[in-house]
């Protein structure tokens, strides 16, 4: 087995591993219908069901969202993908009011008290923040504690990079593009396999990346059909989902996280 095959197997395997961890919880409380199984299987690799189902969209809208996910590495046959679009369109179509999705709230202005990180969080506040993190599937992309994906920015030391109000704004109104060090790299190998991860390094000959499971891998550029560095921010707004006290508390909690042991 050559390096490329080995590495791509690792990636496939990693995605499957994620499936094993998250499928059980993923499908709870989802309406039954054609395409449910495919939705659970394909989409739970990277995120919670709620991340998709809190949105409302037309069939065209869902098709575009799902196609974007495929280009980000969602794995499934064409029939699987069609069924996912069907399931989402049928069960999560536009509301009768005609609104596509509930409007995103704008980040509320801060009072100094909310930005003050010197006030230590109580254990119940920490517990609340962890609950919000769990309920919203933040670990689908980020690392928190010893859990989560290695692709998005690590939140364990986010407090060393961001203040509470900046974190709050990122949750409610994510920037359209990510910082260069958080860029995604999407590779298509000669055999058509797509590999997605966070870019760590590259030169003219090869690219180094880390995938969701933390697997480090190097790919020679000569063995690639496509090589794309993506700076679009994949993070959706959580403004509808996390608000008020939860949002303030989460931002305060995250801003308190710094490198362990330091």
């Amino acid at each position: 087995m050559d390096q490329l095959n080995r590495a791509s197997n690792i990636v496939n395997f990693a995605i499957l591993s994620f499936l094993t961890l998250s499928t059980a919880a993923f499908g709870q409380a989802l309406p039954d219908g054609k395409g449910k199984a495919e939705f659970e299987r394909v989409c739970s690799n990277c995120h919670t069901a709620a991340m998709a189902t809190r949105l409302r969209n037309t069939p065209e809208g869902w098709k575009s969202v799902v196609n974007d996910m495929v280009s980000r590495g969602a794995q499934g046959s064409q029939a699987d993908i069609d069924n996912v679009v069907l399931y989402l369109s049928t069960n999560f179509g536009p509301d009768r009011s005609g609104a596509k999705s509930p409007p995103m709230p704008v980040a509320t202005p801060f009072t100094p008290a909310q930005t003050t990180t010197t006030i230590a969080l109580s254990s119940s506040e920490i517990g609340d923040a962890k609950k919000v993190i769990a309920e919203n599937g933040c670990v689908a992309c980020h690392r928190v504690g010893n859990e989560g994906s290695y692709i998005g920015p690590d939140l364990n030391d986010v407090g060393t990079r961001r203040k509470a109000d900046e974190i709050r704004a990122s949750i409610v109104s994510p920037q359209p593009t990510v910082q260069p060090e958080n860029r995604e790299v999407r590779l298509v190998k000669r055999d058509g396999k797509t590999i997605v991860g966070r870019i760590l390094n590259q030169d003219g000959y090869s690219v180094q990346m880390i995938d969701a499971t933390g697997q480090l891998a190097t790919y020679p550029k000569s063995g690639l059909r496509e090589f794309t560095i993506v700076d679009a921010n994949p993070m959706p707004s959580f403004g509808n989902k996390i608000a008020g006290h939860d949002l303030d508390n989460l931002a305060r909690y995250l801003s308190s996280l710094s490198e362990p042991g330091k």
Binding site: R6, T20, T213, G214, Q215, L216, E259, P260, G261
Partner: protein
């Protein structure tokens, strides 16, 4: 559904396999493509079953890539390689790099306290457990780093540099423990071996290498001399799963070159090997190579654990070529002395008693005017890793042959933050010029470096590969009967493990002061060694498509 369940089960098993578990380290020989511990395996054989590079093709070795460290110091690092990823470092930075291209995945920095003054600012290597790397920093931190993204998981100060300590070793991981000990900058700080929890960094046990008065062997230090007895840890120990003992070599007593305050006395456990229960840190046995040492003959060698026939009976042995110029065989279950013979010229030991205690030559004591010693202060060998090949049955060491020195003492008073050595300049005019250490103009009778192969049962020299200059390089042996080593001349070379014949060499442009190691990725074998302040990786012309 059944199929899915089976698939999930397999996946769960597979995902555990990606971690460096105790099981994997225990059977490191089953995955020769990797290099999981400082010495290559728990027995510290520094031997690999990889055999793609052979006597026939070794001449075709070519440079694959170089990693430049951010230091002007010589680099003593032995890299770890786990499934195609190499972990390396110097005193200020560690990195994960692709083992095929050398391209960096991540780096993690630690700024050594600039107020610290350290005798030997080196990092010998890292240790790994699960997905955690362990880095013992020069200024006394033990840091657990996530091997995937280079982020710190915990960071503990385990030795306070202001008190005269430094960390220099690659830690040893056994089960849930990270085991290591500090060295002292010859400042007379008493040292220890201790174990820390891999998850939390909590100290689990500690063995003090200088016992206090009232403790067993506390009476080997006259008066208050024990307070600044030193006995440091400079190199990584070994582990024997059969006895559950971990073995560590200890360094010299302080003051190192003047024993007036601490003699008569053996000054335990300086210049010894200590066998510790891996679960509790309790001393099972010790053997002291150089009792009451006055010439800095640290026993900071890597314990090499070998099971072999000894006088007709299978026996668990420990092979040890010591800085004092003698080659030893010990029973590693009991510490029993089985053999001792000189592998270099020596003038200090008039013979062993039945228990293996050396009889010191009468005039071999530190003096103010100067004492002629064989071997010299740097010893017959030193911290450089030896190698044992189960194929050839030979024990390979880097040695300083015909090497001598004139060592003189001065009075020593301990002062905090100062070196406590008692080392002076020779006063006798005919000895003011010690034998030349520089290779230029030097005659072979005045000293030379050599890789030597010993018959481990007899200590008999089977062959010798001579250099002009001395050597600080470790030795690697492989299943294709190759030996790799180097030296101060700056050459990295391959020898025939059976005969010592030179097969290949490369000029590295800097001293080779590290132990070579080997690994493979995608069926291609590589040999890596640090020279000067860089890591060099060699391999055959690409076996498969070039990267």
């Amino acid at each position: 559904m059944k199929r899915l369940a089976l698939a999930l089960l397999l996946l769960a098993g597979g995902s555990l396999g990606a971690q460096v578990t105790y099981e994997r380290m225990l059977h490191a020989d089953r995955e020769p493509q990797n290099w999981l511990t400082y010495g290559g395996d728990y027995s510290s054989h520094r031997y690999s079953t990889l055999s793609q590079i052979t006597k026939e093709n070794v001449g075709m070795l070519q440079l694959k890539w170089v990693h430049q460290f951010r230091t002007l110091q010589k680099v003593e690092n032995t890299p770890l390689v786990v499934d195609g990823i190499m972990y390396i470092g110097d005193t200020s930075q560690i990195s994960a790099v692709d083992a095929v291209t050398g391209r960096v995945y991540w780096t993690y920095n630690h700024t050594v306290d600039p107020r610290g003054v350290f005798v030997l600012p080196m990092l010998k290597g890292l240790a790994i457990s699960g997905n955690r790397l362990f880095w013992a920093t020069l200024d006394g931190h033990l840091i657990a780093v996530d091997a995937k993204n280079g982020k710190p998981l915990w960071d503990k100060v385990v030795a306070v540099w202001q008190k005269g300590y430094q960390l220099n070793v690659a830690p040893l991981v056994v089960k849930n423990k990270v085991i290591l000990g500090p060295a002292t900058n010859e400042e007379g700080a008493n040292c220890w071996v201790s174990a820390y929890d891999v998850e939390t960094g909590e100290e689990l046990w500690r063995f003090n290498t200088v016992p206090k008065p009232g403790e067993v062997n506390g009476d080997t230090w006259p008066g208050n001399s024990w307070i600044h007895g030193g006995s440091p840890i400079w190199v990584t120990g070994s582990y024997d799963p059969e006895t559950n003992l971990t073995y560590w070599g200890t360094g010299n007593p302080n003051p190192g070159w003047n024993g007036d305050v601490r003699l008569p006395g053996d000054n335990l456990y300086s210049d010894s090997v200590v066998a510790l229960d891996t679960d509790t840190g309790k001393l099972k046995w010790f053997y002291q190579f150089t009792p009451g040492d006055e010439f800095d003959w640290d026993s900071v060698q890597v314990p090499v654990l070998v099971n072999m026939d000894w006088k007709g009976k299978p026996r668990k042995l420990m092979l040890w070529a010591n800085r004092n110029g003698f080659y030893y065989v010990l029973d590693r279950t009991t510490g029993e002395f089985l053999h001792g013979s000189a592998f270099v010229k020596q003038n200090w030991n008039a013979g062993f008693d039945a228990k293996g205690r050396p009889t010191k030559a009468k005039d071999h004591i530190a003096t103010y005017e100067g004492t002629y010693i064989e071997p010299g202060v740097q010893g017959g060998t030193n911290w450089y890793s030896p190698s044992y090949s189960p194929r050839t049955g030979m024990f390979y060491i880097s040695s300083w042959q015909n090497y001598s020195a004139v060592s003189a003492k001065v009075d020593a008073t301990w002062k905090e933050g100062e070196r406590y050595t008692g080392s002076g300049r020779p006063k006798r005019p005919d000895w003011t010029r010690t034998p030349p250490n520089a290779p230029l103009f030097k005659k072979e009778t005045e000293g030379y470096g050599a890789v030597i192969a010993l018959d481990p049962k007899t200590g008999e020299k089977k062959w010798e590969f001579k250099m002009v200059d001395y050597t600080d390089a470790g030795v690697l042996s492989t299943a294709s009967d190759l030996v790799f080593s180097g030296g101060k001349e700056g050459n990295f070379f391959a020898l025939d493990a059976k005969t010592g014949e030179s097969l290949w060499k490369a000029g590295m442009g800097g001293t080779v002061a590290s132990g070579p190691m080997t690994y493979s990725v995608n069926g291609q074998q590589y040999v890596a060694v640090c020279a000067g302040s860089a890591l060099y990786v060699f391999g055959l012309p690409d076996v498969k498509a070039a990267r």
